[in-house]
Amino acid sequence: MTIDSAPVRPATDVAAAAAPAALRVEDLSLAYIVRGILRPVLRGVSFEIRPGESYGLVGESGCGKSTTAYAAVRYLPRNGRITGGRILVSGNDITKMSDEEVRQFRTRHASMVYQDPGAALNPTTKIGPQVVEAFTILGQSRQQAEESALKALHRVQIADPEAVAQRYPHQLSGGMLQRVVIAIALASDPKLLVLDEPTTGLDATVEASVLDLVRSLQAETNAAVLLIAHNLGVIRTLCDRVGVMYAGKIVEEGDAASVFAQPQHPYTLGLLRSLPRRGIRKSERALSTIPGNLPQIGTDLPTCVFVDRCQLADDLCRTVVPPIVDVGKGQWTRCHHRDRLGEMVEPPSIVGEDTVHGDLALSVDHMSKTFHQSGHDVPALVGVDLQLYDGETLGLVGESGSGKSTLAKTILGIESPDVGSTLELGEHALAAKSSNRPTADKRSIQMVFQNPDSALNRGWTARHILSRSVSKLTGLKGKAVNERVDKLAADLRLTQRHLDLKPRQLSGGLKQRVAIARAFAGDPRIVVADEPTSALDVSVQAAILNLLSELQLKSKTSYLLISHDLGVIRYLADRIAVLYLGRIMEVGDSETVFRGPNHPYTEALLSAVPNVDGEDRRRIILEGEIPSPTNPPTGCVFNTRCPRVIRGLCEVTEPPLIEVEPGHLMSCHIPLEELRRLQRRSADADAPVLTTPGAPEQSDEVAVVTVPTPEDVLLSTPPPPETGATPAPPATPEDEQPPAPGS
């Protein structure tokens, strides 16, 4: 028996229990036909979402969460077949609907928002007609629909709906496009809104504003939300309840706060512990990993689906299907050994203590880089000064377009900097172009790329890739090369068998390990890592981060780490540099930066990150888009979006990058103590505020919105957050433009 019935929810909420669930998935099984054979993807998925509730599905890629989401709106790939179970939306079984009924269902009852808003809109049609269409399909006249469309755009906080309606998709930013897609999705006031990775690929600051928007609109419409996201922080921020999926089955379900605070399934626990969270650093502990990989689709999994990767698995797990264990407060788990979770210990730190600064390894002075595009000068870097010491990790953060990658490329010699920039490795100057650098310099600076599929030649075996790098960079020959390759492989926990495979035969984590081994082929002094884990699942990311810190400890290599994930930065970096429009805004020791006070840009970046632990934080919404580098703002380049801008000063004079306290540099006109006062004040305030009571000339520019505290939800019986615990004021529609109540 592998099929079990859907768990009965404890009827704590009488009102909700009376109403039919907005979405009820009952024992759903689904298979893909691959080469004529049915391969199961979902193996009896059951859950329900009530109106106004938001439900998140989490799990590694390939566990079936997106398939579940698409099944919920009956949008399946051509080779997908529902092999069992029911999907009830407001009581109607959509698996039994005719095509026309499905169409009606999609028109009126269900909507969807996806990843990559840039692709979600027709590129050859203006925004206006695409939104209008969502209303004409509901039976509105052309004129009515046009009015409704403008209202809908206004509702998603687009400042100038008339102008946006006249534009084509490629003329809008990602955040703006996602708002348009949300406007279309909400046109019919759907009962069910499915969000599939809605903020993946957006910058943290944009992500934060989209999440706030979804939250406030959900409260308004009382729609049931099904959210798929690989980022657990996003799930935590938006969802009331979560289901943890593994290999096509939900293994644990419960209130988001409880599941994330007290996971009751070994898989959930493993996932959460593999995240660099709660500000942990490599000096405190290593990250937990989940050994092994997700089983391939179609694998026969007769008992517990997680058994092959579970530390606690024993004969019982291999012979008896684990029952659903209710742990109270609506939380349940499918595990025989819930009581033994304590045996899963967190690994000790690899590094032991914080890195002590070594010698100066790399010095970047007045680094500028200007691209020339069709007659325009596009400055990507402007006068960047930066030092990197032996054995340390320097984290580089900033929104996309801030110049992080350009900085990395100029250091590596892939791009030549402008005249007047200097680059010194240790004591001697580095040639601008990699091809002009002597081999010794080449081997000293190597790179780990974001996407190992692209970084490894798919025609070469791992061994070929490594031995070529070894012989080219070290000058070793013959047997010595093989020995060095074997040593590298051992350091990266790659077996001899792995070395004989081509990249496509290796999993993502193994590929990235080969890529890291290649970077270490010549014992580099500096390794530039550009988003080294962003293409990987969290448990694989954990293993890579552990390996990186282990390698650094052994070799005293310095890392220049670029990542959009501040958790990763905080875990690995010893120092942090914040870039905005190609300029350094703030540099400092990791702890100093995370503790604050910060440059207002850093402050906004830090506040934007959706946190898995749902700490009580205030979110600072940055207004507008990043200005074009072609035509940067005068004075401080951040003044157009800065919530703490001092009018008359910031747009006139560019503040110098100065040391405000030992080892902490900042480029801001506001004195450190004033920043400290301002930032503490907003953190201390306990009532939801729209504006900080600060200096009157600044207050009207600050838009701060509280994130509801999950701890509230944890206490006793959770009231549905949309009615009780959400004191967040509806985000102001003027969000895109500074509200000016005081002026």
Partner: protein
């Protein structure tokens, strides 16, 4: 894709050596298996191999002497002459069988010429980009504006007609077309980070081009070779039909059609139709193979 992912558990740290070749041959066997599952591929091969056999064995298997056995002209198909006889009384069936020979030598050579030259050009254009690419791209564009048949006509008038000239002219005219395909494959390839990684360890441009990129664009090149082979038959047959390709007394199909088509109006269709069908079957067969290759290699 999912099927080839090797999970760490399934990999036992074991002896090295024969695994590499076996992995590679497994991949190749997989491709062949996929190809053999396509009826179009099988049919295409049967037809092409059939014509190759005719071309190789030639007069040894024909019922009559295709060149010098003059009988009664324009006999309709009968038990004696299955495809009838042509205006000089030669057996059409025998001539069709032998007619495969010339085109099956000239067309592949022309295609090979075009693919080799085009691939070289495409690699250079795609890899070095910049001014080299700009200039070469303009020239390629100009070549593409030339109607192939007409320019071949012009060139054959100037150079005189001979098989070598046909190969040369058709090959040159195919070069830019192949170059364009290979160039775009190289362009997307050089965007990939492994090229940057190679630069960072100091590889020369030539090494990157020949050892890293070229093997990865071999797939499209093989497909292009097959496609060009088909078009080469198309073009050579058309040129022969126009009288500037192969010359009498060759039993070439295009030439036979050219010599006989004016008799069709008089109801003598067999001496034209059978060589015409022979051309059609060959070109279609080659294109079926090319099409299957393309879809299998793209999977």
């Amino acid at each position: 894709m999912i099927d080839v992912t090797v999970t760490p558990e399934s990999i036992a740290a074991g002896p090295v050596g024969p695994t590499q070749t076996s992995e590679r041959s497994v991949a190749r066997r997989e491709t062949i298996k996929l190809l053999l599952r396509r009826p179009a591929f099988i049919i295409g091969n049967i037809i092409v191999i059939g014509w190759i056999i005719c071309a190789v064995l030639g007069t040894r298997i024909t019922p009559y002497d295709p060149f010098n056995d003059f009988g009664v002209g324009h006999q309709p198909p009968s038990a004696e002459h299955l495809f009838g006889t042509d205006r000089l009384g030669r057996d059409v069936l025998s001539r069709v069988m032998v007619g495969a020979r010339d085109v099956l030598i000239i067309a592949p050579l022309a295609a090979l010429f075009g693919v080799v030259a085009g691939t070289t050009l495409g690699l250079i254009m795609g890899f070095y980009r910049g001014a080299v690419d700009d200039v070469l791209s303009r020239i390629v564009e100009a070549f593409l504006a030339l109607p192939v048949i007409l320019v071949a006509l012009l060139a054959l008038v100037v150079l005189g007609t001979s098989p070598i000239v046909v190969i040369f002219v058709v090959g040159i005219l195919f070069t830019p077309i192949v170059a364009r395909t290979v160039r775009s494959a190289v362009l997307s390839e050089r965007q990939l980070d492994y090229v940057t990684a190679a630069r960072l360890r100091g590889e020369s441009g030539w090494f990157i081009l020949s050892r890293e990129i070229f093997p990865n664009v071999l797939g499209p090149t093989v497909v292009e070779m097959t496609v060009r082979f088909g078009y080469a038959i198309f073009t050579v047959a058309t040129l022969s039909f126009l009288g500037v390709g192969l010359q009498p007394p060759s039993p070439d199909w295009g030439l036979s059609v050219s010599e006989e088509y004016s008799n069709m109006i008089g109801g003598i269709w067999w001496s034209t139709l059978f060589p015409a069908l022979a051309i059609a079957s060959t070109v279609v067969a080659v294109n079926l193979i090319a099409d299957s290759l393309q879809s299998v290699l793209n999977e």
